[in-house]
Each structure stands twice: as C-alpha cells, then as structure tokens.
C-alpha cells in the first residue's frame, strides 16, 4: 500500500501505514472528527504602521516565523507608487545562512529564542501632501517579543495544559484499542475452523479494504455490533478532538507583548521618522482579538525648530467573520475596527478605520480599509477626511508549508 490519503486525524502517510485495522476505524470517522488546529496563531503580514501606505495602523506582536512580505498596492485616490516591507525573524536569517530547513521541527524548536527578534525593511509610500511633500523613504524596523505565552516552550511549562493534552492522548489511545479489540475478536471468532493463528489472521489484512471485505461478510446481528462499536469510537474521538480544539484555542489566545523600533529614512532635507512602540495583544475569545499600541514618534527635521514629537495610542478589535478548519493554513475572513489618537503640537488628532481582510489563498490576503480622521498635513490638521486603501499580504511560512504538504 503506497501513500494512502489523509487519515482522520489529519496525518499524511507517505509510506505504508501497516495498520489496516486502525485505518479502517479511521475511515468510519465523519468529517466532524477530523479538524484540529494548525498554525493558527495570528501573525502580522501587513506593513508596519509607520509606513504611511500601510493598510493597518495597529501593529500586531508577532510577524511571520519565516518571512513575511506586504505590498500596499494602491492607496485609493492617492499616489500610484507602490510601497511595501519585508519582515524576517533572526531565526529565518540564521537558517538561511546555515542552509538548514527552517520548518524542520528539531531546528525550529532548538532556536526558539531567535524567533523573538524580527527585522523589517522596505519602502514607504510617498506622501501625497501638497503642502508637505516627502520623498519616498526607506523603512527599517526591529521587534523584540519578550512575552510569548503561545510558544511550545511556554506550553510545556504549564502543568494544567500538559495534563489536558495527556488526557486527550489517553482517550484516543483507549478508544482505538477498545474498538480494535472488539472488532478483531469478533471477526476472528466468526472464522470457520480450522482457524489460523491470531497473528496470521491479523497480518492477513493488508489494507483497510481487506478489513471491510470481512466485515461485509458478517451476519446482520454481528454487523449491528460493529455499528455500535463504531458509533462509540466515533463519539469518543470526536469528543477528544473538541477538547483538543478548545485547549489549543485557549493557548493560542494568551498574551504576547512586543517592543518595536521603526524608522523611516528619507533623502535630502526631508524629515527622518523614529518610533518606539509597545505592542500587546491577546484574544478575547475564539473570534475576537484585541491589540494595543502605545508609542512615541520623533520626526527629525533639518530645519531648526521643526522637529516634531508625537505620542500615539491605538486599539484594534479584530473579528473573524468566518471559521477556518484547524488544518487549513488559510486565514479567515476578518473585519477589524481600529482607532488611533495622536498627541502632536499640543493638540489631539484622531483616526478610525474599518478594515476587511479577504483571504485569497493559503498565505495570501487582500486587505481593504476605509478610514476617517484628521488630515495628516500640517496646515490642514483641523480638517477631517475619508480615505480608502487596499493591499496584498504574503505569509511565506504558510505558503512554504502548504507547498510542502501538497508534495
């Protein structure tokens, strides 16, 4: 038997399983028992917020583990010049330099500390302001993630979580053993004499289809027994799956806190911008995610007395409009409402934004945003304006993982 399909628990077999009885049991499971969580942790793939063309102005704590790219294709009604950034973890740079597979689990876990530091580089959108034109700047950034309660290392130090994982393992192991013994003893007892040894009988099954063929020959009363044992097996595996989903979702909702530094360097006499930022996020429940940014911006001008200093606070609530099965690496359709307050030159400016993130395919999303707030130009900050933007985000770690899975 070569390369069977995907088993009920989602494990891809690249060689013979050698477990026809278990494979047969798995074939009896319904799709509802198949889902488990996979790589669902939210990661920022959109440009960091200091890039003026970014479709988001609230930064998330974690970027892609491997490499993420964000292209802001067109600010609606604004400049037609594109902008974008690439974010990479120190880990991805290390594995690239050492020619190691960054998704190999042993390497991935051995260097988890390297995934707490992320580096960003890119080009910002040129300012469309008539009064205060700015040349297109280069964006540099670094992010440190000192609190990451969603990492596997943190989970291993959580006795309650470890106990719950063990309980799930106990249920699926016990359910499988019980169903397998009930089935094979029934089938063996119905064999005509002379019967082979039990080992020869067990090894006479090459595939799940062989098991099904023997089950098909059972008398109706015996078939009823098989149906009952399958119902019990399906029920227990399904319940264990649900518990596992809840546990993984709970763990993936825990706090992450990051410190961020971003700068935009521009040519000539244009201002250079610097930003220090605290980012905290966690999930409120399985669908609602909360993010807070608190930051200080400094704009360094070559003109005497023209430097500006700005305090900034931003909040975002992100809601998953759709549910994506645990195995899918695709993002859900998301709606986000965010607000930003800026304290600049002794007065407050406010912006609010509604954003819709449409998943195109695995690791590829199309964010649309519609905002309302004070205009950024110095002479028109009292005015408020409506703007729209859309972009394209790529999460290369998910794309690579999807390609590897498809092979």
């Amino acid at each position: 038997m070569v390369s069977r399909a995907v088993l009920a628990c989602g494990i891809r077999l690249s060689v013979a399983s050698g477990q026809p009885v278990k494979d047969w049991l798995d074939q009896q499971l319904t799709d509802t028992a198949k889902s488990t969580a996979a790589q669902k942790k939210p990661a920022q793939t959109q440009s960091v917020s200091l890039n003026h063309g970014s479709t988001t102005f609230v930064d998330q704590t974690s970027a892609s583990d491997l490499l993420g790219a964000a292209l802001n294709l067109s600010p609606v009604g604004g400049s037609q010049d594109g902008s974008g950034t690439v974010t990479a973890s120190l880990y991805s740079i290390y594995t690239l330099a050492s020619s190691q597979d960054p998704l190999e689990p042993s390497i991935y876990n051995a260097h988890s500390g390297m995934r707490t530091l992320f580096l960003t580089m890119g080009r910002e959108e040129p300012s469309s302001s008539v009064q205060n034109p700015l040349p297109q700047g280069t964006v540099y950034g670094a992010r440190w993630l000192p609190v990451n309660q969603r990492d596997a290392s943190a989970i291993a130090k959580n006795p309650a979580a470890m106990k719950q994982f063990r309980e799930v393992a106990r249920v699926i192991a016990g359910a499988t053993s019980e169903a397998a013994s009930a089935l094979t003893n029934l089938l063996y007892d119905r064999l005509p004499e002379p019967r082979p040894s039990r080992l020869d009988f067990l090894r006479s099954f090459r595939t799940a289809d062989d098991v099904q063929a023997v089950v098909d020959r059972l008398a109706p009363a015996d078939r009823t027994q098989v149906t009952a044992l399958i119902d019990s097996y399906r029920s227990r595996i399904g319940a264990a799956d649900i518990e596992l989903q809840k546990l993984v979702q709970m763990l993936s909702r825990r706090w992450q806190i990051a410190f961020d530094f971003q700068t935009t360097q521009r040519s000539g006499a244009a201002n250079n911008d610097y930003q220090l930022e605290l980012i905290a996020d966690r999930a409120v429940n399985n669908r609602i995610f909360f993010t807070f940014n608190g930051s200080y911006l400094y704009s360094d001008s070559s003109k005497i007395g023209a430097d500006t200093r700005t305090g900034r606070g931003a909040l975002e609530l992100r809601y998953n409009l759709t549910h994506v099965s645990g195995f899918s690496l695709r993002s859900p359709l998301q709606l986000a409402l965010s607000g930003e307050g800026l304290w600049r030159q002794q007065q407050w400016q406010y912006h609010t934004q509604l954003q819709l993130v449409i998943p195109i395919s695995t690791g590829v999303n199309l964010p649309f945003s519609l905002g309302y707030g004070n205009r950024p130009e110095l002479l028109r900050q009292e005015e408020k304006d409506v703007y729209g933007k859309f972009g394209l985000t790529l999460d290369l770690s998910k794309i690579v993982s999807a390609v590897k899975t498809a092979k």
């Binding site: 494990i11 291993a156 470890m162 063990r166």
Partner: protein, 151 residues
C-alpha cells in the same frame, strides 16, 4: 499537517511463558511529549508524566505466565515495574495497545517498538515510524494488537 513516515506492522506475538516483551522507545521533537499508551480496557500503561526527564521515553510491555492467561505489566528498560500497570489476559483474546500522540508541546515524534526475548534479543521490529511537522492540535495513534497464545 504532520507527516508520517515509516511502518507499523500493527501486530505482534508475545509469549508469556517465555517472558517476552515489547520494547518501546518514543523520542519527542520539540519541548516535551504529550502521549499516553492505553489498552482495550481503557487502562493507561504509561504516559508522558512517567518520563519527566525524557528526551527518550523507554518502556517495556512485559509478559509473564499466569494461571488465568498471560500477565502484562509495564516496566522500565531495566525490567523494574513502572506506572503500576498490571493485567492478566486470556490467551484466546486479542488485546490491543495504542500509543496516542498529541502535538501540543511537541512538533514531532519517533516511535520504535521491538519484539524482544527475555534476554533482550530483538526478535522482530514491529514499529518504526516518524512524525514531523506536527501542528498544535493534531493527534495520531499507533496501534499494536497481540497474539498471546503459546505455540
């Protein structure tokens, strides 16, 4: 999605009269293992908390003769009893032992099971499987069913 490679024959002989045993070696990849081995009566043989320091979790499913059939116990690699598992099974019954693997703090597992004589000689390799790239929330099971009847 976790990838499984290798083979599991899924069944083995085990003769209590000869005190044969199955030797399990489970090596988690990642921070820690999340696993449990349970029989067809839903009784746990061993679990990850029996191996607190384990880069490699090694145990035996030890057989011994008994008036009512075959006694099956859990032992460490030196043959000392661990976990308190103790069960007597009639030889006309096919018992099942499954190792449930959960990808929580681990992202991969290597599982090797050898059918061994009382002196430790490997009679047959039953299981040699490797799981890689496991994502949080996935799970897998490796099943071995036993023929306990003495020839």
């Amino acid at each position: 999605m976790a990838k499984r490679t290798g083979t599991n024959k899924g069944s083995s002989a085990l003769h209590g009269s000869k005190r044969e045993y199955l030797r399990y070696v489970l090596s988690p990849k990642g921070s820690a293992a999340n696993f449990s081995q349970d029989d067809d009566k839903n009784i746990t043989v061993v679990a990850d908390n029996d191996f607190p320091q384990g880069d490699h979790c090694v145990w035996r499913l030890q057989s011994a003769p008994d008036q009512a059939g075959t006694r099956l116990t859990a032992a460490d690699d030196a043959g000392n009893s661990i976990s308190g598992y103790d069960r007597v099974v009639k030889q006309i019954f096919i018992p099942s032992y499954s190792v449930g693997l959960v990808f929580g703090a681990a992202v991969g597992y290597d599982l090797n099971v050898d059918y061994c004589s009382a002196t430790g000689e490997v009679i047959e390799n039953i299981t040699n499987v490797k799981y890689t790239d496991g994502a949080a929330g996935e799970h897998a099971v490796e099943l071995i069913q036993l023929d306990l009847e003495d020839a």
